[in-house]
Symmetry: C2
Subunit: 213 residues, 2 copies
Amino acid sequence: MEERGISQAVIQRLPRYFRYLGELKDEGVERISSKELSELMKVTASQIRQDLNNFGGFGQQGYGYNVEYLYQEIGKILGLDKTHHFIIIGAGNLGRALGNYINFERRGFIFSGMFDQNLDLVGMEVRGIKVQPMESMERFIKENDIDIAVLTIPKAGAVAVAERLVQNGIKAIWNFAHVDLNVPENIQVENVHLSDSLMKLSYNLNRYMRENE
Amino acid sequence: MEERGISQAVIQRLPRYFRYLGELKDEGVERISSKELSELMKVTASQIRQDLNNFGGFGQQGYGYNVEYLYQEIGKILGLDKTHHFIIIGAGNLGRALGNYINFERRGFIFSGMFDQNLDLVGMEVRGIKVQPMESMERFIKENDIDIAVLTIPKAGAVAVAERLVQNGIKAIWNFAHVDLNVPENIQVENVHLSDSLMKLSYNLNRYMRENE
DNA sequence: TAGATTGTTAATCGATTAACAATC
DNA sequence: TAGATTGTTAATCGATTAACAATC
């Protein structure tokens, strides 16, 4: 499990580079220097060069970076050249919203199955995928080469479901449940705690208001 | 606009403290030491004490922290004792999912209005709130004391809509559009870039797979 | 070639952890 | 009072920024 020593702070910035480079590419920009990119993204040129050099030298002295090439390379670093199949656990509003989001497919994430405890939702279709009962989950994971699970269920059941997912070979969990999962460290978990995010916004909003009236 | 010098890293951790304390409170736990809490949350006791002491001394030597009191105090720091009205711009799947999420009300965030460009969606109801056309937005914001806008529209229109929101007195934007907004610095923006989050998961998943086969 | 800009080392800054005196 | 645990200062660690030699 040899840690490659690249900090999560760096990883977190890669998708943003990827996004800006994608836009530059679409605009037909061929090359860009770290300085130009830094002005666009409002970060330091130093940081861009340091971040990229964690993964290799993608630029050329005196020239800068080739936009198309760098875009492709960051995509590879992020693993977007690979295909992963994912399932969504929880067919509520949020689960259905994510299931309907077609852009994930463009990045290699294939929506393959959806599950819910609530039998009223079973049979419902989301983008051509039929919601199945929880009992079918184990078998489905194994037979369909699923390695990512998206958890959009209430926090009460989330920890137990996460354990079941792991036992059946899930390698990564995108967790929208408002609870910290308890899984082995070789399982990748990415938390999206929406209410935490809203509370942070709330803090900043109230602090600003306090200071200004 | 005097900066109070509390880092966003600290702010980001507050909702998690709040969540754990809420659970302890519900379990009837009366007091807890930074050491016990640190074991529960898998952080250092030092960090907990440092974080809290940015806002004042909430504990007592030899005793620890009173759970109920600390919970309340963190809630106040986060501004959860105040009420804020928010609107959702974009009545697509994600917008509707957020509109249907009732827990925000419990924290003082009141879902007050919803808007969409698509006239097919106008008139639709989400939790008792009728979707209105974009033209009604300006007036609605002013007449209903709205200070938070949730942006769940495609990135193409997001930057322009954000500017309109700001012109009409919105103080904070919870941005789900996959683009960086360009608003004055006194406007609070909290980004939730879902695909960035998924790409980070992808990186970690692929790195782990690379290292293990 | 001269100019530009990278890759990388060194300096700085900030955040986390450790230690301990204060005190309940 | 003695023991426990905070609040806070000092030490360490890591991340960011600056500087510059290498090189296209």
